[in-house]
Amino acid sequence: MARQILEAIVDGILIGGVYALMAVGLTLIFGVLDIINIAQGILVVLGAYLSYALSVHLHVDLFAGLLVTVPAMFVIGVAIYAAFIRPLRGRERTSMSLLACYAVAIIIEGVLYWIFGPSTVSLTGSYVTAEIHVGWFYLPYIYLYGFVLAVALVVALYLLLYRTRFGGSVRATMQNQTAARLIGIDVNRVAALTFGIGVAVTAAGGMAYGATSGGFSPNSGYDLISRLLAIIILGGLGSIGGALAAAVFMMTLQSLVDIWYPNWAVAVFYAALVVVLTFRPDGLFGRPAARAQ
């Protein structure tokens, strides 16, 4: 039993790292644009399919393929922002952007169904099946590599946000858009690039997800987005550190419950969210919301 619990905790932390990467993209987009990109789930699946297409048809290694898929997803993100998000204005912007993102999601889902069909596929590679011996149990290498990749990208994002001039503009825009505009920040450009970056991480997240989840289909987007939403709310909307902590916490909790009640493992995920929000309506690390205007 002790071995099982330890294994569940290690699994939870490693998978949590991958979810953290996807959630950081989502919470970053929320922080800067004040919209929830409900298409993030299907974009992760799209990223996974891009890796899948590269590895099956062109025999490109999964990690090498990221050099192509990450820029591709960045361009897709900027294009979605420019075409569908930026034109939205006025008081209904928040709700309309939710619907616009949803419309984008069902178009992408339809395209994926059309091209790849409804069957479940998974990413393969030598390190997906090979296992490493850790203490008492075996762990597929991909869990480790995926975690390292996620951590590296989160650190890169951190450096980008806190050590560059562009990062300063992004954080200023997150804090106060009007003030950022007044001191000469091109808020539109910051928003477009942030949306692009938030979507670009789904390429890496999707690859890691596709290789560790044991299979995905165009339908996986719903499951992903509902978990990601739970994570970013639990962490506190717009809080990057909160998203990291919540992702690891949620995935560990889920894999622990999975030992005893596999059917209810996912429910615990949402139940934890509901319980936390009952006591802390702004999430674990969120600031109290400013008065909505």
Binding site: S95, A100, S226, N263, V266
Partner: protein
Amino acid sequence: MTPALSRRGATVGPAAAWRVSGVLVAAAALAVFPLWFTNGLVTTIAVDTMIFVGAASAWNIFSGYSGYISLGHAVFFGTGAYTVAIAARDWQLTGDAVFWLLPLAGAVAAAIAVPFGLLALRVRRHTFVVVTIAVFFIFQLMAYNFSFTAGSTGIIAPVLNWQPATYNNPFYYLALAIAAATTALSWLIRGSRFGLQLRAVRDDEDRAAGLGVRTRRVKLSAFVISGLITGVLGGLWFYFIGEALPQFAFDPLFDISVALMAFLGGIGTVAGPVLGALIIESAQQYLTTTVTNDYLSEILLGALFLAVILLLPRGVIPTAAEKLGSWQARRRAAPREVPAGAQPDGAGGTEASPAPAPGSAPESAPSGPPAPAGPPGPERRP
């Protein structure tokens, strides 16, 4: 609840007459619809559409007026479906008797709406949306995992021994009656004190609370009313489909569909959700039956949504009303001069009429900006 008609003179006039006659014509057309179209495929689409007209109107009573966007109304829909399914199975009801279970479906859905609302309404905006999604997934999982819901096997509806040729008609009229009653209720609420309090919450909740609106009670009441109606519709839908399965009774697409319908037509208006449901549900059903490629129909639907969002960002009815208002204002600006603001803002508590009589609507303020010229839409701010 006093309807707006008696309190505000603005609605009494040729525009109101047009509006009333328009509603009567629409009601008559809908009432004779199944006599005209007897094709089973068409009436099936009609029943589905009527269920969604009711559901979108019910959603709008809470989300449209209060501004709290719920993406968890499938909780009530599924609860209603499972309530009648389980009751009919355990009490061994057959035939027409099962329809007496519909009020029970509404009662159970309302009973669930109370704790759901108490929990979810503590938070606002995006967080509220996500909490409703989370509660929705918990309910779907419960339907999958509890033994009394029969898990993924689902529950089959009792057999109804009706004539195949007119099988859909009772469903159609029942759905039509519920949809009409919900729309009427929505209209009554919009003009009532309760509706004004809800809309005050939407515009600025803190200020509304400061002015003495009991915001929690008002929000929760609207949530429960909305959930009750959605539960009844879920029960009706269960008989119509004939089976309750977790993934269809608690369907994430239901959540998003009702919201889209309200947004498309015009959120916070009375006629908007009705129009949106008529357009989206019939288009969706039509696409599913005619376009053989499922995926293509999905893509087309997404493209349609995007086109609507980009071209009519505030919904059909408010946009149309605004266009019409500014057109009238332009037309009137030339002949005479009336000080702007002399007219009351908007046409009272009723919905924006898609086609008021040209030149007779009281709401146009000549030479003013288009903003005060329309009826009080959801985005009207002082």
